[in-house]
């Protein structure tokens, strides 16, 4: 019984790879930037939905909600950040979050922003857990992946069209 092997698909891939050339890193970076933006927005929106209550020391075995000042630290400008892209050939890597958000002043004391974010996200013996970050990472991840895929497909098509298909 004869077997037919179709190579039309491979031709397309070959043409695409040739056309791509040195632009691979650029296409990947552009796509990753879109995805990272979506993640950052999701985290920021999550942080803005944190419930607060005026500061009161937790007592009687009860946990407390973060104070509005603590929420401001987490939602403030330049808090949720996108790390500088690391490029290695066709691989591009970054991280989104509070990693480099530095310090803030709270009631006259210097506090680390990631520490406050983590205490709200994971909860402590005295802080009620509100997993805003985990939720953003969990539910925003799919949207970010879709955006990355869409961006790569769009840019690849443009390059192919530019190089005469």
């Amino acid at each position: 019984m004869p077997y037919t092997v179709s190579t039309s698909g491979m031709d397309d891939v070959n043409r695409m790879l040739k056309a791509l050339g040195d632009d691979a890193g650029k296409v990947a970076s552009a796509a990753l930037y879109e995805g990272a933006g979506i993640m950052a927005d999701a985290i920021q929106r999550g942080a803005e939905s944190i419930a607060t209550a005026p500061f009161k020391y937790a007592s009687g075995g009860q946990t407390r909600l973060p104070s509005p000042e603590e929420k401001d630290i987490v939602t403030g400008k330049r808090r949720v950040g996108i790390a500088k892209f690391k490029t290695d050939g066709m691989d591009v890597d970054t991280s989104v979050g509070y990693g480099r958000s530095g310090y803030a002043m709270l009631a006259g004391r210097k506090v680390a922003v990631p520490l406050i974010a983590n205490s709200i996200n994971s909860g402590t013996t005295f802080m009620k857990k509100q997993p805003f970050f985990r939720k953003a990472a969990s539910t925003g991840g799919k949207r970010a992946t879709d955006a990355i895929r869409a961006s790569i497909e769009k840019n690849l098509q443009e390059i192919i069209d530019k190089n005469g298909g």
């Binding site: 075995g61 909860g123 013996t125 985990r134 939720k135 969990s138 539910t139």
Partner: protein, 121 residues
């Protein structure tokens, strides 16, 4: 509430261990509670946090998966024996659906904090 979750809560609430021999200690496990700081060596909290994903069909929600978390607070550096018990319970109820999300030390209270997340249908 998803059945898998209610079953997990029941299992977590009945965790016991017999050290020292001859005694039976139950881990105080609260569900979604505010008042969760009993004056004990170790205690836990379990909660269902949010809907993680869903599958729709015929304009209806067919399946939904939820993410929840189990927290263990303990004065013991290695969790006074509860870490292993919680991990085993998670394993029994949802296989490989769980992971250790964070392990921190609270300087103010001197308690160690483990946080596991899990996914149930």
């Amino acid at each position: 509430m998803p059945t898998e979750y209610t079953q997990l809560v029941t299992a977590m609430k009945s965790l016991t261990q017999g050290t020292p021999p001859g005694t039976v200690i139950t881990l105080p496990m609260a569900e979604n509670e505010w008042n969760t700081r009993p004056d004990t060596e170790s205690y836990g909290i379990i909660s269902l946090d949010f809907e993680q994903d869903q599958m729709n069909g015929d304009d209806r929600k067919l399946v939904a998966s939820y993410e929840g978390s189990v927290d263990l607070y303990s004065r013991g550096k290695s969790g006074s024996g509860w870490v292993e018990k919680i991990r085993n319970t998670l394993e029994d109820h949802c296989g490989a659906c769980w992971s250790l999300n964070s392990h921190t030390y609270e300087r103010e209270t001197g308690l160690f904090h483990w946080e596991w997340t899990f996914e149930v249908m």
